[in-house]
């Protein structure tokens, strides 16, 4: 699962990130006179707005560290490294970054480090590739434009397990069958099934097999293009109430002009070729009008 978070920087972080792009590090003076790096917008004790920027060095000393023998995805280094709180020369508080020390034996509190600047800098904390153990100054500043936005890609991996109620539903789909669950208390039939009946809060234990015909309870004509859209607009997204089910689900309706779609329209599933089936509702390519007379409003009015 991924998303590129795009954020405006504001004046304080904007200054810090723009300066990183120039191979400069900028702090800010707090209410108590301490110089904070990275700069804070407001003082952590008095909550006063801070505005006095202070240039600090790209060299400093380790104030605390841990050793990561097996780095994780996205971290500054793919080989074992140290996380460190680094107090840069001229600062009073510490910046978190990675130190490319090679071995934990070379790390100690007080160890002198300098920034290793990235060649292509964009105005981000990762413009410092990492820190390295050295007594020498870091590379000198360079010219670069200001940045006002930062983009942070976030990618996280999840394993979603099929729950006990989803399992027969997904297995059924692989055989072209539609398996719903019935609540033992209110007897409502859920398709797709849910782990618990939202009305009664009890597991939906009874299985019910449904056919692939139903009624359009409501619909919308999609005219607006959006990121990730798979069908060129205009097209119709419809809520389909399968015969015997109590909850409609959203699916695609084709084979009819958008202007002719109506509530109560009877529809049937159009399945993909069997060799393309998987444990997915996408086994049904779309719904199309079945040609039956429209369902009377009373037959679906409680399921809108």
């Amino acid at each position: 699962m991924g998303f590129d978070y795009t954020r405006s920087t504001g004046p304080t972080l904007g200054r810090f990130l723009s300066d990183l792009r120039r191979r400069r590090v900028t702090g800010i003076r707090g209410s108590d006179g301490r110089v904070h790096v990275p700069p804070l917008e407001y003082d952590p004790v008095t909550a006063q707005r801070l505005s006095e920027f202070v240039d600090v060095a790209a060299t400093g000393a380790v104030r605390g560290w841990s050793w990561i023998p097996e780095p994780l995805e996205g971290q500054p280094l793919a080989r074992p490294f140290a996380w460190a709180l680094i107090q840069l020369d001229g600062a009073d508080t510490s910046l978190l970054h990675a130190v490319d020390a090679g071995s934990p034996d070379r790390m100690a509190t007080g160890t002198r480090v300098r920034a290793r600047w990235r060649g292509e800098r964009v105005g981000a904390i990762t413009d410092i590739e990492c820190f390295e153990i050295s007594d020498e100054p870091a590379d000198p500043p360079a010219e670069a434009d200001d940045v006002t936005m930062v983009t942070t890609p976030v990618h996280l991996r999840y394993t979603h397990s099929a729950s006990p109620t989803e399992d027969p539903f997904l297995r059924g789909l692989m055989e072209g069958r539609l398996i719903a669950q019935r609540c033992p208390v209110c007897e409502k039939v859920y398709f797709p099934p849910r782990p618990a009946c939202p009305t009664d809060g009890v597991p939906t234990t009874d299985r019910v097999e449904l056919g692939d015909r139903g009624t359009v309870t409501t619909f919308c004509v999609v005219n607006v293009p959006f990121l990730g859209q798979r069908i060129p607009p205009p097209y119709v997204s419809a809520y389909v109430l399968l015969d015997g089910a109590d909850i409609p689900f959203l699916h695609l309706l084709l084979g009819v002009a958008p202007a002719d779609v109506r509530m109560g329209m009877r529809v049937e599933a159009v399945w993909k070729p069997r060799e393309e089936w998987g444990p997915s509702m996408q086994n049904i390519d779309h719904f199309r009008p079945s040609g039956e007379p429209d369902a009377p409003f009373d037959s679906y009015s409680r399921h809108l």
Partner: protein, 351 residues
């Protein structure tokens, strides 16, 4: 002022991996039945519902809305949610009861950490501009804090291992614990580091689980529970999210929350300390002496269901009042990186 008490508590077993959805419904249904059934209540007796969970942990949007299925929210209920440990949801419910709006509340938290990579998911709670892009992992950050304490002489790797030994031994009497057993300090110290100076035993395990507490006010609490755990102090405080500016060897917010809630003279304290050194730090911050029984359940080192573990600390502490084994207890919860936010709930039994 109204008096409010914890009258019921239930939690799932703490396990490495469950087969349910990340919406928590499969974990919540049985503990709702257990806690309500134990009090002779049904869902219609609950005036307010409040939960704590995280969509980043669940890997899906609005997982807390799907979780409401476990309640059976018809007719409609009054409900709220915090994207924090459910101990903060308990605080919200407590305020609601104090205001006199309702007489009962059910609070729950759930987390299926096994679905994702917890060490990376936890980076989502850090500063999104200058920290998260580095993807610091929760163990690496805690390792920095542990080393600062070691170098300040506040604890050492032996005293940290002793915390793990005591937790796992205590968990032998907790049938819901994930990790328990008799270990020796030297045996644990023989293991490799996972984030030097932290070894595996210094870190809470990755756990799937859920917990729930029922609160009731005044006479309603006395009707429902023979020995309610009356809340006498309930406070939460926060430190700067900029942890490079903080002295990481202490936690001003824990000190302040403990003082405000009246942490003194407690017999039992359940502390939400996901790392061994943090238990030592919290004992100092809350001023808990050697006579205080800390984490008789084994604490989160024996099972750490994210977003439920802090609530479960309060539930475990309250349970010692309910069963008559203690009369003044403390439950603590933490949120944010490196003990940034801390909550203390002090409870008493009465004759």
């Amino acid at each position: 002022m109204r008096e409010v008490a914890v009258v019921g508590f239930a939690q799932t077993p703490c396990v490495r991996e469950t087969d349910g959805t990340t919406n928590g419904v499969e974990m919540l249904v049985p503990i709702f039945h257990e806690v309500l059934g134990g009090l002779g209540l049904t869902k219609s007796d609950i005036g307010f519902w409040c939960s704590g969970s995280s969509d980043y942990l669940a890997g899906r949007a609005f997982s807390f809305v799907s979780a409401v299925d476990a309640i059976g929210a018809f007719p409609p209920i009054m409900e709220s949610h915090v994207e924090m440990d459910a101990a903060w949801a308990l605080y919200e419910a407590w305020v609601k009861l104090l205001c006199g709006e309702v007489d009962t509340a059910l609070v729950y938290g759930f987390g299926k950490s096994s679905a994702g990579q917890l060490r990376r998911v936890m980076a989502m709670q850090l500063d999104p501009y200058v920290v998260t892009p580095l993807w610091p992992d929760s163990l690496g950050l805690a390792g920095i804090q542990a080393r600062m304490g070691i170098e300040s002489g506040l604890w050492d790797e032996r005293s940290m291992a002793s915390v793990a030994v005591r937790s796992r031994a205590a968990a032998l009497s907790n049938p819901l614990a994930q990790l328990s057993g008799r270990f020796g300090v030297d045996e644990l110290l023989a293991a490799d580091y996972v984030a030097d100076p932290l070894r595996r035993h210094d870190c809470a395990p990755i756990t799937d689980g859920a917990a729930t507490i029922v609160l009731a006010a005044g006479d309603r609490a006395r009707e429902l529970c023979e020995r309610p755990a009356w809340i006498t102090g309930f406070e939460h405080r926060t430190d700067s999210p900029s942890f490079g500016t903080r002295d990481l060897t202490t936690s001003p917010s824990a000190v302040a929350a403990g003082k405000a809630a009246g942490a003194e003279d407690v017999e039992v304290a359940e502390l939400h300390a996901p790392f061994t050194h943090q238990e030592i730090l919290l004992r100092q911050a809350l001023g808990l002496g050697d006579d205080v029984v800390v984490n008789p359940s084994g604490g989160v080192l024996a099972g750490n269901p994210m977003f439920a573990a802090g609530l479960a600390r309060i539930g475990e502490a309250a349970r010692r009042v309910h069963d008559g084994s203690a009369s003044r207890v403390l439950g603590h919860a933490t949120s944010g990186p490196l003990l940034q936010q801390n909550l203390v709930c002090v409870m008493e039994g009465r004759q």
